[in-house]
């Protein structure tokens, strides 16, 4: 099992798991039309990361993930609170809340945490190239800490989605029906955002918070263009996000540039391919239709 501590294996494996868990949760966010909440959450967790460190001295581990995840949910709650005053539209509410929480986080780190392994640049950009340095002994095997954390997070996310798949789908598609059937959609949606925050915290070490947004939004968007059913869309999104890790890693090594940045960029390449495929499909279908039948009428 020494291969787990191999730098390239650890890096790619961590990237794969970040991508899969982000795309899994992100699919529902994209379908709900709330993608910018990923932006808000992932910036706001810096506040939680800084605060948990100040209070407990921890920069990793379950306590830190839970504490920092709460700050992401707190941001969502603040945004709702501001919108409810009817003085701000939701874009302004989002744009006020997350920069403020992020700023408090940066200032806290600037003031109190100068020499600790915790700086705003890591949080922002991630250092996936170094994940193999920090290992943990599990049953006598050295496992990179970030890889292990992401694996646990991926399992939790997957269990949540599998258990509540039906409710997540309904709450995303038709919130009113979910409440009318007595299925507490608000609870499910908040649980989903809580897990998204937790995943963002677990991933910040690896890819940084801004690039995390890319994994949350871009693969589901690409999959959305290609499929017409929810389960294939989610699986395809997870597959593309997972694939972007080894491809991104290889390209980053080849050109000697940021690994996490390259992994994120590969997702954009998939989005482009998805668009082109759809466009091509449309062209072909259009031509076939024009040959076979007159254009369909709008009714019936």
């Amino acid at each position: 099992m020494t291969w787990l501590a191999e730098p390239s294996v650890a890096i790619v494996l961590t990237g794969v798991m970040v991508g899969m868990s982000a795309a899994l949760l992100g699919s529902f966010l994209v379908l709900r039309g709330n993608s910018m909440l990923a932006d808000a959450i992932s910036h706001s967790i810096l506040f939680g990361i800084a605060l948990t460190w100040l209070l407990s001295g921890q920069t990793s581990g379950p306590l830190q993930i839970a504490g920092a995840a709460l700050s992401g949910v707190f941001a969502v709650y603040l945004i709702e609170l501001l919108t409810r005053t009817q003085r701000l539209r939701d874009d302004a509410a989002i744009g006020l809340v997350f920069p403020a929480l992020f700023s408090i986080g940066v200032v806290l780190i600037n003031v109190y945490a100068r020499d600790v392994h915790l700086d705003e640049h890591t949080v922002l950009l991630g250092e996936i190239g170094f994940v193999w340095l920090d290992t943990l002994a599990v049953a006598g095997i050295e496992v990179p800490r970030a890889t292990l954390t992401m694996a646990v997070m991926l399992v939790i996310d997957a269990l949540f989605v599998i258990a509540f798949f039906k409710l997540l789908k309904l709450a995303t598609f038709d919130r009113d029906l979910a409440s009318a059937l007595g299925l507490a959609p608000g609870f499910i949606l908040y649980a989903h955002l809580t897990l998204l925050s937790g995943t963002a915290v677990a991933a910040f070490d690896a890819v940084g918070v801004v690039l995390f947004i890319t994994f949350v939004v871009v693969p589901p968007a690409a999959a959305f263009l290609l499929t017409r059913a929810l389960v294939p869309m989610i699986l395809l999104a997870m597959f593309m996000a997972a694939l972007s890790a080894p491809v991104g890693y290889a390209l980053a090594i080849l050109w000697d540039v940021s690994i996490s940045g390259m992994m994120a960029l590969v997702n954009g390449f998939f989005l482009l391919i998805a668009y082109l495929l759809r466009w091509w499909r449309g062209v072909r279908a259009g031509r076939a239709e024009a040959l076979v039948q007159p254009p369909p009428s709008s009714s019936a």
Partner: protein
């Protein structure tokens, strides 16, 4: 303090912060009114690759090159957003978030490329993430001043169409204005605000400077011109205060301090602005409660009973609250103490109910007679 203000570096910082605050305040007003605040977030994150491209092409950390590059990628990002939104079934939020993430990813990749190629000079580019007041040189003020002046001139020249676009885009289209061109102009204006703020606020937090001053000004102003001027003032205050604090406390990144100042202004405005503020609103409600007579509430109960043809009709408090637009419980309780009402129960899934007593009914009829000149029919007989 005087010595501080005459400090050369500090003067530079203050002037730069002033430019940023005024420009983002003015241009942000339109973004806030049009609900496009998050476009600022996407454009500013997408400015990062532009910063790198500018650096690579001009071959140094000259602000002109960096600004031109940032403006270029900002505009490209705006086009990508529009393309994703209009040419695919993807919603606007997805288009914004995807462009933001991918733009930033490209920036990070280019940043590491420059780091390798140009070595130590990268430290300078790093400051574009969170902004560094101390890095602003006197000569950097010139390009910032030029962009600010040109943008303000554009706003003045296009004032009327921009005003119409912000309040009623549908009407703007009907009245024959080139709506598309104006939309492009408004988007380009957000990109310009981002570009000027790059050096001091940084790409990550620039969205707050686009939104916070405008959101704050919206609380106070009653006209667009008032809002824009106030927003410029708020932006300037946030910029100068934040810039000076971070210059005096080295180690504090400038962007976050400016943003926190701007957020504080927005929050205070949200709370205390006279008409739209939450505290004045709360105070007005309380004032209204104190100045609504118990007779008025009694009459509402009386009229509801009359409409239902039953003087012993149980009136639910929620109905009285909804009618008067406030929580009337203290007044209803006062009526109970006076013996005009009595609390009763009705259905198990409903709230508190109140019922007229004989004394209350008589008093309500007296009031009603006094106010309608006795023209209304009286109850024919008392009910149980």
């Amino acid at each position: 303090m005087i010595a501080l203000l005459s400090d050369y570096t500090l003067q530079t910082v203050m002037m730069g912060a002033l430019l940023i605050g005024v420009l983002s305040g003015v241009l942000g007003s339109f973004a806030v009114l049009r609900g496009q605040g998050l476009l600022g977030d996407t454009l500013s994150h997408a400015a990062l690759p532009g910063v790198c491209i500018g650096f690579l092409i001009v071959g140094g950390r000259s602000l002109e090159g960096v600004m031109a590059g940032a403006l270029f990628t900002g505009v490209v990002a705006a086009l990508v957003v529009v393309f994703l939104h209009q040419r695919t079934a993807l919603k606007m939020d997805v288009a914004l978030a995807a462009t933001l993430g991918l733009g930033f990813a490209l920036g990070v990749v280019l940043l590491t490329y420059i780091q390798r190629e140009a070595g130590s000079a990268q430290a300078g580019l790093d400051s574009f993430l969170f902004g560094q007041a101390a890095a602003v040189l006197r000569r950097d003020l010139y390009p910032m001043a030029v962009v600010t002046a040109l943008s303000l001139l554009m706003v003045i020249l296009l004032w009327k169409p921009l005003k119409l676009m912000s309040f009623d885009p549908a009407f703007a289209a009907v009245s024959g204005l080139p709506v598309r061109l104006l939309e492009i102009t408004l988007t380009a204006m957000i990109a310009l605000a981002v570009v000027v703020g790059l050096q001091m606020v940084g790409v990550v937090l620039m969205t707050a400077m686009v939104i916070a001053p405008g959101a704050a000004a919206r609380q106070w102003a009653r006209s667009l011109s008032g809002m824009v001027l106030l927003s410029a003032l708020f932006g300037a205050i946030a910029g100068v205060v934040g810039g000076v604090i971070s210059a005096l406390a080295p180690g504090l990144a400038t962007g976050p301090v400016i943003v926190l100042t701007a957020t504080a202004i927005a929050l205070v405005s949200l709370l205390i602005a006279p008409h739209r503020g939450l505290i004045p609103q709360w105070y007005r409600r309380r004032h209204r409660l104190q100045h609504t007579s118990t007779d008025r509430i009694l009459l509402t109960v009386y009229e509801l009973a009359r409409e239902h043809g039953d003087w012993r009709y149980r009136v639910e408090q929620g109905a009285v609250d909804a009618y008067h637009g406030m929580v009337t419980e203290p007044l209803l309780q006062a009526l109970v103490e006076r013996g005009h009402l009595q609390p009763v129960r009705h259905m198990p899934d409903e709230g508190a109910h109140w019922q007229l007593t004989d004394k209350g009914l008589a008093h309500a009829e007296d009031c009603a007679a006094r106010w309608t000149g006795g023209s209304r029919l009286r109850r024919s007989e008392p009910v149980g």
